[in-house]
């Protein structure tokens, strides 16, 4: 038996023993998702157990080094773990900005102390992180951000405002972009800093979205004191870290959906809702061909995600290609949810009540509209592809 086969066997039996039965069903709603954190309210004992076990094994961050709490797996092993988890339809044990975004950035740019301090609690789901990038005046033009960070000798002092901070009100810590130099060119006066959301002077105000939910906030900093060792990398050079983190975020957002709903493909959802003709084909042939197109694209896209991973050397980001994945994946996801809505017809409009699980589908559909905005809009991704990959010149101001 090869090493990989042995690993597969071991993984399979570990999962068989350790993944609670109730964690092997598709998630029904947002409460089934576990984000961890100090104040984590587990929806069940099983959910808690599943996070604890996976966290202890380091498998919430399978490819991070063991010394920082990660699983220490290589790319092939990680692929196997993913496949085995999918086979038993296991829910993710942890959803985490720490795992998807901050971790990779810390592994590359953080000091040894920072890695030791921050990475293990991320893996175990003990500390929940939020992302303080966008500001009222700095969205697509992120580098024009103004949140002020002053050197006060033995600490930094932060004043300013962030906006669209996802889950700021539920998070324990924030990774934040701040201006540390007003004289330098805009990209060269930004630093990347970490602090506790429980610090004096931090406050948040939830914003309600079109989906009726309010997962994101305005976040205010009023004379927030931050210990100096919490600045990551070099002073004024946080932009490089910010960009590196964004490539991970973009890859993650692009690949965040496989286009299924409750374990069913769009085509299956449509046949169940609208019926099939005598050949077993979706009766509405115009809708059928649109779904086929979305599913073909979805498959080719999945292969492209896989290929990007195969191409990227282990541990490194995939650079500007993440913009392509982000652009295509999010636009595709919007298309899919349009088709799911069409497939369910009038029933897709139900906003409250048990039948619709309190409007789960229409709320998700509305949420997908943000996929092509968060983490940099589709237009911005297309700009990046044009410039960085195709080598086209910068647009001139007219």
């Amino acid at each position: 038996m090869s090493d990989l086969q042995a690993f597969q066997e071991k993984t399979r039996s570990w999962l068989e023993e350790n993944c609670p039965k109730s964690m092997r069903k598709p998630m029904r709603n947002e409460f089934d998702a576990c984000w961890g954190g100090r104040d984590c309210e587990f929806s069940s004992e099983d959910q808690k157990l599943w996070l604890q076990r996976m966290g202890a094994k380091g498998w919430t961050a399978p490819e991070w080094p063991k010394e920082y709490g990660g699983g220490g797996l290589d790319k092939e092993q990680a692929k196997i773990l993913k496949t085995e988890l999918a086979k038993i339809k296991a829910r993710p044990a942890l959803l985490s900005f720490g795992v998807w975004m901050l971790g990779p950035a810390l592994l590359k740019f953080g000091s040894e102390e920072q890695k030791k301090q921050f990475l293990p609690p991320i893996v175990r789901g003990e500390i929940r992180w939020c992302q303080g990038y966008s500001e009222p005046g700095a969205g697509s033009d992120l580098a024009s951000l103004q949140t002020k960070c002053e050197d006060k000798g033995d600490h930094y002092l932060i004043n300013g405002q962030k906006v669209w901070t996802s889950y700021a009100d539920k998070s324990d810590w924030i990774f934040c972009l701040v201006r540390t130099n007003r004289e330098a060119k805009k990209h060269l006066g930004i630093s990347f800093i970490l602090f506790d959301m429980a610090s004096d002077g931090v406050s948040t105000k939830p914003i309600t979205l079109i989906s009726g939910k309010s997962p994101f906030c305005e976040t205010f900093f009023d004379d927030v004191k931050v210990p100096k060792e919490q600045l990551v990398g070099t002073l004024d050079r946080g932009w490089d870290i910010a960009k590196y983190l964004l490539t991970h975020e973009r890859e993650m957002i692009g690949g965040s959906s496989d286009g299924s709903m409750g374990g069913r493909s769009i085509g299956e959802v449509a046949v169940l809702a609208l019926g099939a003709n005598e050949n077993g084909e979706l009766a509405d042939s115009a809708l059928r061909s649109k779904i086929a197109t979305a599913e073909l694209d979805g498959w080719a896209f999945l292969l492209t995600m896989e290929r990007s991973k195969d191409e990227a050397k282990a541990g490194h980001g995939i650079g500007a290609k993440s913009s392509m994945l982000k652009y295509y994946g999010t636009e595709l996801n919007k298309r899919r949810f349009e088709l799911l809505m069409a497939s369910k017809g009038l029933s897709a409009l139900e906003w409250e009540g048990e039948a619709s699980n309190d409007g789960q589908l229409p709320r998700q559909w509305l949420r997908t509209k943000g996929n092509s905005i968060e983490g940099g809009t589709s237009e911005v991704q297309l700009n990046i592809i044009s410039k960085r990959i195709l080598g086209l010149p910068d647009p001139k101001a007219n």
């Binding site: 077993g280 779904i291 086929a292 492209t304 700009n383 044009s386 195709l390 647009p395």
Partner: protein
Amino acid sequence: MALVYTEEHEMLREAAKGFLQEKSPVTEFRSLRDNQDPLGFSRKLWQEMAEMGWAGILIEEQYGGLDFGFTGAALILEEMGRTLCASPFLSSSVIAATALRFGSEETKANWLSKIASGEAVIALALEEGVKHDPVATSMTAEKSGNGYRLNGSKSYVFDGMAADGFLVLARSSGEAGQADGLSLFMVDSKVSGLSSTATKLLDSRNYAALVFDNVEVSGGDLIGSVGAGLTMLEPALNAGRIGLAAEMLGCSDQCFESTTEYLKERKQFGQIIGSFQGLQHRSAHLYSELELVRSAVIKAGQDFEKNPEHSGMIASLAKAKSGEVGILAANEAVQMLGGIGMTDELDAGLYMKRIRAAQELLGDYAFHANRFAKWRGF
């Protein structure tokens, strides 16, 4: 298996690229077209390709082939697409070589080594209507002594005017529209009762219309078992589909690259037109689509190599996606080049015409999307 090429594959690609760019640049295709070459390809060049082993790339060593694997064949087709190189490679070395695996020992001995050496060209005589539709086959194969008698006609047989033999799908029982009752035959082109006329299509390659008038074939010419012809042919069809997808990827890539270069040179309103965001975003979108096509083509090649009998769905993905994106790539090329893109002098139009033909052959987008949807249960 990782979705990347091995070193061995990359070497083959480099060799193919070098050879084709030197011996068969687009100007070669142009001159074949302008001289109204009846075959649309150069026999001499095909012979050179055969000497390098390409003609037998999928054929077992005992018949003089390389047995290199399907991904290699797809890579050659991709490079052929880049320079619009016309050759019987797809018909003979990909489709026929795959189908003949199921042939009798006698058929294999007769044909495979000739395919591998480039001595014989074999074409697929399949279509009877204007859309790819194997089950619609109505040409008849009646039992006659130990063999069969073929009657009917076939159209749009690519490489049919160059062929020494044909793979023919005919109905031995049942009626048009049924997948059962079809049988596959290997027919020598010199057999009596078989006549062919050339059909000229927009891509300047050779296509034939065939009439079978009481053509007698022997039992040994039957490939696989009687009535199961479509099952026998399916892997070969999928090989052809993936091959066409790879060729279209090469065509589209080339179109896209030259267009992007033009965007960096041409000035209007005192600016390089590539700085206009309207064009940038369309280019970036096309780039993304091409990346999806590339993934599908690589995966299809790998899967076919591993398991040719079960590669229908991935072949449909590759063929559908590369045809759809190929059309986009050609249309965008002409549009972004502007007036000059409409001229015969530029290559964009040549690519547009080849892509148009390749996406239609062996099933267009709708055919494959429909097949895919059925497999997926909707």
